[in-house]
Symmetry: C2
Subunit: 471 residues, 2 copies
C-alpha cells in the first residue's frame, strides 16, 4: 500500500486510531478459521463519515478494505487476505436507541450481541438471535454473515431482525436501506441483500433491529438416548404435536465421549449414543404445559435419563454439556475442522449415517452436534495433525480431509441441503459454491458484486473462488 | 405486437391457452387499482419451460411481459400498461408438496392463499400470511408484492415465509434462489431481493414456503372507545406487558359510521370514536391467559363496550365490523383511494391527527383502519366523483386529491414511515418514490433492474416513475 494512502488516513481519523505497527496488524490478521494474512494498516473507525472518507480514498487508489468485528468468523470472512486497510469496528459500538413503543433499536456495528441483549432486557424486550459466540461477536458481523444460533427454530435468524441499514458503498457514498417500520415494501429489499453478504457489497455503519416482548418464562429439558434415531424421532414428534421449542439441540456419541472425558462431573450415562436439549419460552403456564407434554413424549421413547430443570441453576447445568463441547473436542484433538451444513429435517438421519460411513472409511473421527430443530448440524472433523491448518498440515492429511469434505458437501446438496446454515462461505467454502449453485446463479451473484463493488475492493476473495469447477 | 410473436406463442403453448380475443384481453386488463390497459395477448401458463420459452421470444423481440395472478393489486402492479404478453398464472396452481417433517411446502404461483392455508391445516400446519384478499389472491402475487395482512405483528409478512424460488429471468434462463432448508447463508440472498420486486426482476414459477405448527387455540376481543387515543394507548400497554397478539386491528370513527349505516344489525355504539379488535393464538391455557390480561387492561382504560368471544361464531361476529368496512365505505362513496402507509408505532397518533387536519382542510373525507400492531394504516380518501379514476375524474378533484396525497406521504416519511407497508409501489405510488429514497438508493434500484432485465421487458413502468422529482 502506498504511503500516501497511510498519510491520508491519518488526516481523516485521529492518528491514535490509525496504525501500521506490526503488533496491531497481527492482532487483526486472523479470525476463528485460523487463517492469517496481515493487513497493511488498521483503522479503528468511529463515525460513518470517516468510513465514507476512507472508502473514497480506497476506491480511488484501489486498496482492499476489510471490516472486522470480533474476528469470530470460522470461514475466514474477516481475514484481510489481500492486505490493504482493515476497518476495526470495536470502538463503533454505541447502542444509539432502544424504542419500546416501536419495538426497534438502532445500533452501531461494533456492539457485542450479549451486551445488546442485556440492554434490551432492561426494557422487557428480547433480541432472539443467539449465535454461540454471542458473548464476544458483534452485531455488525452477525448481519454480515446472517448469523443464526440456538433459537432459530422458533425465532429465525439475524436476517429476520434487521429492518434497515446505513451502508457505505465501495465508492464512499452513504445509503440507507429498509427503515424503522415493521413492514415495508418500497423499492427493492436491499436490506436482506446486504444480510449475509459478508462485507462484500458495502460496510454497515448503522443497523436498525426489530425487537419483541421478552418471554416471561423458560423451561429446559435434557435427555440421553441409547440411539441417535430416538433423538431425531423426538424432534419430529414434538412438532407434530404443534409444540414449537425455542431450542432443540442434538449431540452425538463422539461429542458426549469427549465431554465425559473433559467434564466427568457432568456424569454422562456411559451407554449414551445421543443427547437432546430442548428449551421452551413464553408465558409461564404455557411453558409449563409444553415442558410437561415434552416429558411425556420423551418417556414414550424411553430415554436413558430424562431431566427437567426446576430453576435457572438447573437449566444452566443441563446446558453445561452443550457448552462444553467445543473445549472438550479440543481436549481430544489438536485441530478440528467445523462445517455447518443445513439439511431439510427429513434428511438429518441419512446425513448422519453417511457421516458415519465417511468417518469410518477415511479414518478421520467425526463429532456432530447442532440444531436438530432446523437441520443445521455442526460437523467436526477431528484432525490429529499438530500443526496449524493455516500454515500447512501434511499433504496426505490435507488430501484426505479435502476428500471427506467433498463427499460431505456433495451428499448434503444432493439431499436438498446447503453448504452453510449460519457461518457463511468466506474463504474456506468458496470453492464449493458451484456444488450448490449453477452457472447462472453464480453469474448473477458475481454481477451483483460487480454492481456494488466495481473495483473489487470490499472484502475481496471471499464467497467467490478464483475458479468455478463446472467452467 | 408482431403477429410472428403470436404465432410462435401458439407453438409453445397449446392454442387453447393463447388468446388475443378482445374478451380475454379485457378481463386481464385491470387490477384492483381500477387502472386499465389492454394486453396484446393473454397466455395461460402451466409449466416453467413454457414461461422460459415465452421469455426467450419476448427478450429477442423486446415485447413487454406482465404476470397476473388474481389481479388484486391496488397499486396497478398487475396492469399491462405497455400491452404485450400477459402471463395468466391461474392454471399454474398446483400445491406440489407439503412436508410436515421439513415444515415446508412447494407451490406454483397461481395457488390461492386460502386454498393453501386450508390444505396445510389438514397436516396441523399453519401458513400465517393473511392479506385481506386471501380468499382470491395468489401466492405468486403475494411474493411479488411482499404481501402482509392481519397477523404481521406476531408472524411477520410473506417475506418471512419464502425460503426459495424458481425464477425465470428476462432472457428465459431459469434460476433457483434459496432452497428447502430453514437456514441458509450461501451466496447472496436473491430470494428476498425477489420478494416485493413486483414482477420487475423475474417471474416466479415455483415457491418454497416455510410452515409452522398450527396453534391449537384462538381468542378474539373487541372494544369500542370514546376516543381513538385509548385504542392506541391499549396497543402500547399490551406490548409493554409482554403480550403479543396475532392481530391488533384499529377502525376509526368514519369507518364505524359507514359500517353502522351499512350493517345496523352489528349495533355499533353510537358514541364510538374508535374500535379495536385483538386476537391471540397459541396453546389454550396461554391464549386464555392473554385474553384475560387484555380484558383487564381494557377495563382500565374504560371502553364503551368490551366483548370477548367465547366461541368461533362469536369471534366471527366480532370480526364482522372489520370485514364490512370496505363494502360499507363503498356504500357511502362511489370511489375511494386507499393508501397503506406504515409508520413506527410512536407515530400513529401524530399521523392520525395530521389526517384529521388535511381531511378537514381539503374537504375530502378520510376513513382509517388498519394494523395498529405494526403501524400499517389503511387510509381511504372518499372521493365523491362518480366517474372512474382510470378514465379521468374532474381535473379539480384530481388536483385536490394529489395535494392531499403529497401531504400525507411527505408527513409519513418525515415521521420515519414508508409509502407502503404491504401493497407495494406499482404505478400509483411510483412518482412518490423520491420522497422516501435518495438519489443514490434509486440509482441502485435502477441498476439492479437493469442487471436483471436489461431490455426492460418485465412489468415495465412499475415501481419507477419516468422522472424523479429531485433530478
Amino acid at each position: 500500500m502506498k504511503s500516501v494512502v497511510y498519510n491520508r488516513l491519518r488526516r481523516i481519523v485521529d492518528a491514535s486510531r490509525v496504525s501500521d505497527a506490526i503488533e496491531d496488524r497481527i492482532v487483526s490478521s486472523y479470525d476463528a478459521s485460523r487463517i492469517k494474512y496481515l493487513p497493511d494498516v488498521v483503522v479503528k473507525i468511529i463515525t460513518t463519515k470517516e468510513v465514507s472518507e476512507i472508502l473514497k480514498i480506497a476506491y480511488t487508489e484501489k486498496v482492499p478494505v476489510y471490516t472486522r468485528g470480533a474476528g469470530s468468523s470460522v470461514t475466514g470472512s474477516a481475514v484481510p487476505v489481500k492486505g490493504g486497510i482493515l476497518l476495526d469496528t470495536s470502538l463503533m459500538n454505541r447502542i444509539v436507541e432502544i424504542s419500546p413503543v416501536d419495538l426497534t433499536a438502532v445500533v452501531e456495528p461494533g456492539v457485542v450481541v450479549t451486551d445488546f441483549q442485556k440492554e434490551v432486557e432492561k426494557y422487557n424486550l428480547f433480541y432472539p438471535p443467539d449465535p454461540a459466540s454471542a458473548d464476544f461477536c458483534t452485531i455488525g458481523g452477525n448481519v454480515a454473515t446472517g448469523a443464526g444460533g440456538l433459537r432459530c427454530i422458533k425465532y429465525g435468524t439475524t436476517r429476520d431482525y434487521v429492518l434497515g441499514l446505513e451502508v457505505v458503498l465501495s465508492d464512499g457514498r452513504i445509503i440507507n436501506t429498509g427503515g424503522g417500520t415493521l413492514k415495508k415494501v418500497s423499492g427493492y429489499d436491499l436490506t436482506r441483500l446486504m444480510v449475509g453478504s459478508e462485507g462484500t457489497l458495502g460496510i454497515f455503519t448503522r443497523i436498525i433491529l426489530r425487537l419483541i416482548p421478552k418471554p416471561t418464562a423458560e423451561s429446559t429439558i435434557s435427555a440421553f438416548f441409547d440411539t441417535p434415531d430416538k433423538a431425531i424421532e423426538f424432534g419430529v414428534l414434538l412438532l407434530e404435536k404443534g409444540i414449537l421449542p425455542r431450542s432443540l439441540e442434538f449431540m452425538d456419541r463422539a461429542c458426549l465421549m469427549a465431554v465425559n472425558k473433559y467434564r466427568p462431573d457432568l456424569k454422562i450415562p456411559p451407554t449414551s449414543q445421543a443427547m437432546i436439549l430442548v428449551e421452551f419460552d413464553g408465558q409461564p403456564e404455557d411453558v409449563n404445559n409444553q415442558a410437561t407434554q415434552s416429558c411425556k413424549l420423551l418417556e414414550g421413547i424411553q430415554p436413558i435419563t430424562l431431566k427437567r430443570a426446576v430453576n435457572k441453576e438447573e437449566a444452566k447445568y443441563l446446558w453445561s454439556v452443550r457448552k462444553a463441547i467445543s473445549a472438550a473436542l479440543y481436549s481430544i484433538t489438536t485441530q478440528k475442522i467445523s462445517e455447518d451444513i443445513c439439511v431439510p429435517r427429513h434428511a438429518i438421519k441419512p446425513i448422519l449415517s453417511y457421516l458415519n460411513e465417511i468417518g469410518a472409511s477415511s479414518g478421520i473421527p467425526v463429532a456432530v452436534f447442532g440444531h436438530l430443530g432446523d437441520g443445521n448440524l455442526h460437523i467436526n472433523f477431528l484432525v490429529s495433525n499438530p500443526s496449524d491448518r493455516a500454515f500447512g498440515t501434511s499433504k496426505e492429511q490435507e488430501a484426505r480431509l479435502a476428500g471427506v469434505l467433498d463427499k460431505l458437501f456433495t451428499k448434503t446438496i444432493k439431499l436438498g441441503g446447503t453448504l452453510s446454515g449460519e457461518h457463511g462461505i468466506g474463504m474456506t467454502k468458496a470453492k464449493y459454491l458451484p456444488l450448490e449453485w449453477g452457472r447462472d446463479e453464480i453469474e448473477l451473484f458475481r454481477a451483483i458484486k460487480q454492481l456494488f463493488d466495481p473495483k473489487n475492493i470490499l472484502n475481496p476473495d471471499k464467497i467467490f473462488s478464483q475458479y468455478d469447477v463446472w467452467v
